[in-house]
Symmetry: D2
Subunit: 500 residues, 4 copies
């Protein structure tokens, strides 16, 4: 496979790179744990997301809603306990991340039924009493504003999760969800109109029908919803074996078209045209036990996703930053196909680097000059170029040649290579015997296999006034490159090449 690009210097390509806006997380209660916070610190130190979104804010382990009956008087007391909420939010803010709040699930004592979802049994039924629910929601938001100040008004608030699935919302009852949305939306806006509230938080099942009905409803009810949300997964039907799930990746273009469908529905309303659409979850597979997540293949596939998702969506939140996760139960083994960008023990997976690379691109880019199926290239503020190359093929290498207009005589080319040969911690773990809970020494060993391989070179301007960046991207590889003018300092008498 070849990629040959030769730029004139006049190119300017649309590229909405909002990679750092949000990332997904296991349920909020897990944010109390040390391993979770270590993994989050690791991710924030190198990538640095702005928002974090997950389930379980009101699930019982967060202990917010407290109804106690007095033994003697039989009186019922309702109180809100924010001890754990404060602890989690403090931990987030310490790590320079703030929530994209998802309101859910139902506290057991407030729930109208006992439908639950997941190993950790999130209750997914409507409240017995909507007033009880909106009281709790507004008390929680008011508490957050009191503790953290006006910044809270900028934290997006999403009502519930995937109500279009019966597992997540009893009977996938659309009418009931719209009621939940309306009551919640109005109660929050009454508290303070500066809060930003959105929905319908749907996944891909009957998504067009739901999206249309949701905006019809908002239009009818005059709810000036602040943003739309949906999810985006890109694998085919699963097969199961033991604790594991196996799935094929789907054609990326089908997914992009699907998102365009949602975009078009929203834009068809004059009231909502151009409204932000947030993908509040996306990934390849939607199961937390699909070995694909830990592979270089996943990393290469995601590189293409991150290039394209901004075409329809304001943000896209990878599900999830780390492997502390219990929806299917507690993981039995280190590499278990979890959603995380990092594995337990803070081992970055190949996909972690795809995100780190896009974040660096976002930080450095002044404008985009090329965007294709295997590469994206931007100019930076140093008078150089940076870009990402990827290869979704599992068999053939990609030989890329980029000819870029140059001003300086010499440039330094730095390449960071993530592929099955150079950055594949899962292989090292496999080779040492797939230990379930590796020792500290084994974790350190595996970590040595988890960082990009770096190469440097000096590239000289050709007579045609260009520099040539040449890279061979192995199957499932992702490469970050930067090429910056080389300023030479040197020291008196020093000659790099000289040997006696």
């Amino acid at each position: 496979m070849k990629l040959e690009v030769s730029l004139k210097g006049t190119e300017k390509v649309d590229f909405w790179n909002n990679v750092d806006f949000c990332v997904g997380t296991g349920r909020m209660g897990l944010a109390l744990t040390e391993e979770y916070l270590k993994e989050l610190s690791f991710v924030q130190d190198i990538i640095g997301f702005k928002h974090i979104r997950g389930h379980g804010l009101f699930t019982d382990d967060m202990a917010i809603y407290q109804k106690r009956r007095n033994w003697f008087t039989k009186e019922e007391t309702i109180e809100y306990n924010f001890t754990y909420l404060d602890r989690v939010m403090d931990a987030y803010l310490e790590r320079k991340i703030v929530p994209f709040l998802e309101l859910g699930f139902m506290p057991k004592e407030m729930a109208s039924g006992d439908n639950t979802i997941f190993y950790w049994k999130g209750n997914t039924t409507p409240p017995k009493d909507y007033k009880d629910w909106t009281d709790m929601v507004t008390a929680t938001l008011a508490h957050l504003v009191k503790r953290y100040g006006e910044q809270v008004y900028s934290w997006p608030i999403e009502v519930w999760n995937e109500p279009n699935l019966p597992g997540f919302w009893k009977d996938a009852n659309m009418e009931e969800y719209f009621r939940l949305f309306k009551e919640t939306f109005l109660a929050i806006k009454k508290l303070d109109s500066r809060f930003r509230v959105g929905g319908p938080a749907i996944c891909g099942v009957r998504d067009k029908e739901w999206m249309k009905a949701f905006f019809d409803f908002c239009k009818k009810e005059k709810l000036k919803v602040d943003f739309a949300t949906r999810h985006h997964y890109t694998t085919e039907m699963p097969k199961y074996d033991g604790h594991y799930t196996y799935q094929q990746l789907s054609d990326p273009e089908v997914g992009f078209e699907n998102l365009q469908g949602s975009r078009d529905i929203i834009d068809s309303y004059k009231e909502f045209k151009g409204l932000e659409m947030h993908l509040t979850e996306f990934n390849t597979s939607y199961t937390p036990t699909n070995p694909l997540h830990d592979t270089n293949e996943n990393a290469a596939y995601l590189a293409y996703q991150l290039e394209r998702l901004g075409e329809t969506s304001y943000s896209y939140s990878y599900w999830t930053f780390g492997d502390v996760f219990e929806e299917n139960g507690v993981p039995f083994s280190l590499f278990h196909g979890g959603f995380g960008l990092v594995a337990h023990g803070c081992i970055p997976k190949p996909t972690f680097w795809t995100f780190a690379f896009y974040k660096r691109l976002q930080d450095h880019a002044t404008e985009c000059v090329y965007k294709g199926k295997n590469a994206v290239v931007v100019k930076n503020a140093n008078g150089g170029y940076e870009g990402i190359l990827w290869n979704m093929s599992d068999a053939e290498s990609l030989v890329a040649t980029l000819k870029l207009p140059a001003e300086a005589k010499e440039y330094t080319l730095i390449s960071e290579v993530v592929d099955e040969v150079t950055c594949n911690p899962r292989k090292a773990w496999h080779d040492i015997g797939e230990p379930k809970n590796p020792s500290k020494e084994q974790i350190e060993l595996i970590r040595k296999f988890a960082y990009p391989f770096c190469e440097s070179d000096i590239v000289k301007k050709s007579r045609g006034g260009k520099i040539a960046v040449e890279e061979a991207v192995r199957p499932h590889g992702v490469i970050y490159f930067s090429v910056n003018p080389r300023e030479f300092e040197g020291d008196r008498g020093f000659d790099y090449e000289r040997r006696e």
Copy 2:
């Protein structure tokens, strides 16, 4: 080039690997600085030497010897100030290293002349009054024992440095050195006979003559010297350009023969036969501005040294652990050919890994099974093997095949590769323009190029009951490998190879 080794399982080879006994350092006063201590911490965390030896204990910046004249009375006061000594020793002990004490140089106020050496002007003349000298030496040792306890008796004490060079000892006056040795030796032994005292600390100039004369003297004077010391450098005559020195490496065998010469002299005395000989300095080049020190070539050359030096010498102290050093002045640039295993900013040089690998071998070895010009192999306690392969050639790769007797069915092979392609921070620094004092960001970038590249593999036992370890060692490459029985855990349903 090929290396083919096939072992029967009965081999047992003599291999005295004392790599961690001692390491060299810039003058003691520099141990007050932060950069020095950061570099030392880095070295100790990964390698972990037991002793540290350098010059300047009594040089004026350590401020131990204080003679003040009262302005009015003209009376002279002699005091010892141990503030800095304590600070340095505390810093050493915090980093789990203790000194190999070198007694020198002469405090200016005590000196009989003003010969000095180095940019930092160490005075290299005899004391005006030997009593003044031995008082200071014994007061210092007594202070150390009071503060640090009985461990101090095990810290080796060497009298002066390279008295066979006129720069280090006025006129290279042998008789005067012997006097210094004797007075010092006797004063220390009088303080406590448990102290261990040695000499003559010579370099390779007229070394046989000095070694013989020294032991004749000790024999005659009945000085039961505790150990002998000398130095070992392995480069030819230097050429100069600007701040830099360039030299050719010499034939290693010539150096080993030279050391054997010293060994033979010592062993020729029945009083001293088998006495420990410490190489209290060794390196390739003896100049702190020879770019060779920063190269992969140096790392490969040293790999052979570390295999062989134990044949004649009890210990061998690499000169030096870090680049904080001022003998030729303050370095002008990051990679300036300094002696250090690490460069400023705690960037490990290729030679650092040679030491780290030998240290790991020392920690893991149960017995040595192979020792040759390009490889050393040991058995470990896990029923596996570990070893180091190196290639001193600058042109040709070394293709090594080791056939090793096996008991388990499967082994995990881990290789860590240090060569010009995979672990060459100097090249990255050169490619970005040879910045003299790189910024923090540049240091971090260069550091990415300074760690071994790791590979893993599964090796199966052949029908012949052996496993084959195959490695291609590039020019100037050093590889550490371990091959350990693979115990497989696995998890229900997990298949590493499976993709849908």
Copy 3:
């Protein structure tokens, strides 16, 4: 109140100070959380316990016992998942503490009923199938030995918790508990006889009856139980208000007699005479919402307990090290009467210092020279004395004068004072308005009030050859003092007193 002690120098008093043997903890699952581990690190850094004991090893949040039914085949799989167990044990070992294992409670899927205890719903019914239980217990122990080596054989193992209460063991069924004990004991000893197993883990309800029956049973069944365990609380009946419990402290002597009763029962069997008795829980109040725990009164009361408990008991494990605890629900506020030695945010409570002082005494003591109702005094290895003084009165100060035989001319007296005036973080928190979840800045402010006030003095030997240590201990105060020979260094010209 006065305490006057004058020693001759010949006193030697029995004093079994085993303060650091063990400490209590909230349920094991909480050991996954960051706040828990921060508090544990804090406690270990300053005090340093050897063992830690709490409930919930087999409760469902630890996720060890996994029974899954295949959707299609209906087959049941039983697996053990040690991911969280390993994580907790790793965290313990990192903090240099190892478990005193309590086997319990019952995994829901294994339980014969649905009696539960606590907010976190520990199942307290016997297993449906004892084989299933012993398989799990032995698999867990075997796993621990594999991961942590032979040290595991020295971790004490206690069977269940307080079976003499119906809340903790269905119907407080004694016969059923004895069955559980026997099956468990035999299964473990079969795995390896080096494991140490004990019981009956009872509290003070019908304790004599249970203790006697237990040892009758062990004798009859020839179970060579390795140690006996019971609990020890010292408050009267509770009154309730809102989230809180209020109780009076009971007479300490009554408690000591009660323990002596257990001791006597054990010693009445020739098979068990002298057997170690461990108080696997003790505290003043047994409720986690009694404000007493946070007071200086508690600290003074405990000072007396720690002096005396060793008279009957091998060890005594304070319930608990920190305030991360959920038995009565998630705490609503910072100082909420939790059991912890430290409050959330790692604020040491007054009682923390009582333990820190006894630990220091344990580390320094060479022999005990005085033990009374308000003081304990030991000799140390420096030729000095150290001791603890306390005052359980809530109204009157204790004026103590200790006359101690002296050898040196001068001594340095250091006193660390913990009382309501000098070290009372709860008061500072109250004065700033009792914030439920204080901000980081408020935590730092409160922490300033949580450390002992220190005083130093020079004490001179009297003509009678004694030194006098004089301390006034305020109500509810605890003072640690040390008095050590003063060695004077000084510097030329320095005069501490001089002012111009």
Copy 4:
């Protein structure tokens, strides 16, 4: 002594509190050492100064000016080596502090004579060639701008130090200093007019004469000097004993009048009226071996200084932040009367807290409501008050009553007490025998005596609408207080006072 203040609520007092603008330091070369940087980190973490000023930028240990003569050709090379300068500046910026650059002293190779000052022998003679000097100065500044960007233009630059003393400038030659100033000023302004350059950096000897002559010169030469600088010490003539100096404190008012004298001279020129005057050094004693510096007396005296210095001066830089200092030689002992706010081992001295308190006042003040000989009080943004009380008397306590207009019903009063009883590490060190270089354990012990004692209370509004803050300030005491409205949270059922 009594202080009674009753405010109406309309008071507004001028108070220029610029306590954090600058702090002094030992010579720049010492900033390479670890102890120096630890002490600086400590100071910056708690106080946080903006600028740092000391001697020795161009002294030889910084190794900036390098003149080498070629052995063969005899050619001279002049080079600038910025390795150490960059290292020091990097270390400063890491600690969020930037230099107030003092240009001096003379590199030996550039000097016209060999007058030196201090143990470390700073050369204090004019350059042989002024061009050589200005080349070095501008090369250094250009290098700093290249490395650190435009911020460098805001770093004040002072030409030389105390040229009015012959020790600091050969013969205290005024004319020669003016030449140095002019050449330097013009060269820097030519490089970039944004640099800010000032002088004459004089101490109190013949200060009026010098100040006047300097501004006459600047006026005549049309040098638009950016700021004026002078020093300020407040002790009488010294007496000497051994390594130590003893002096009486002078009357503070005399010092303030002296500064007003300088202020008046500057303001008498229409060109310079209102020009910033920086006290680039101030302290009580000007000797680094005066035990006064380590006392509570010093802390109380400084409290008054910090209140008043802003009346005449834009900034005032305490000489010095830490005890790493070599002007009179290397300190022999821990508390040796050094200038530092902190002693070795990062032990804060009483004076440290005076600065910390003024910094807190600066951060919190919205306006000043009282300023007197023993107290300063400000309003804060919480609707409360904060202030500092001090007592310069060595015998009598100060009883202060402040009646302050109140709006809330209840306030929380927090007091932090620094006096000879509560915060006097020097006493603890003395009591343990004045160890010269205490062990780590001793340092930790002494540090326990080095923090303010904290008290809290609830203060209620009187019928007259005021709150009364009552404090007794012991001799040589300094107290920081804050009194803020108390917002009560509380929890259901919690009663702070209740005991059963």
